[in-house]
Symmetry: C2
Subunit: 78 residues, 2 copies
């Protein structure tokens, strides 16, 4: 069974770079990656914050949040 | 041909988590990941800084530095 990973972003340049180079680099045989644009999907901001996301872009993997560089603070997306 | 990725770390807990969950999650069919412990290999700190690494853990991929959460500043490792 594949591990679920969620890549949270806001379409910013830093987000796009992280998406193309890190999120898309994950092994597709082991991970199923969902991409969530929090700017367009504000209903999921609370879920991201609950997972520990403080800024985007961030990858939530195995229940842990991994912030990749810094594009925008989560508070700017609420 | 595989893309070379370098994961720079310093053995810190934040580094180990990022290594196990992000660096080791990269697709092995597309990426060859080198793991460099900067605390034990100070000769490579300059190379990491040249690649844009400001803190560890960081993944350098396609010539770009992706800082994953924050373990320690690079200046503490010189």
């Amino acid at each position: 069974m594949k591990t679920k990973a969620i890549f949270y972003h806001a379409g910013c340049p830093v987000c796009v770079a992280a998406e193309q180079n890190v999120a898309n680099a994950l092994d597709p045989s082991r991970f199923e990656v969902e991409h969530v644009h929090l700017g367009q999907n504000k209903a999921r901001v609370a879920e991201a914050e609950k997972a520990g996301v403080k800024s985007v872009p961030a990858l939530v993997l195995g229940g842990q949040a991994y912030h990749i560089n810094f594009g925008a603070g989560i508070e700017a997306l609420r």
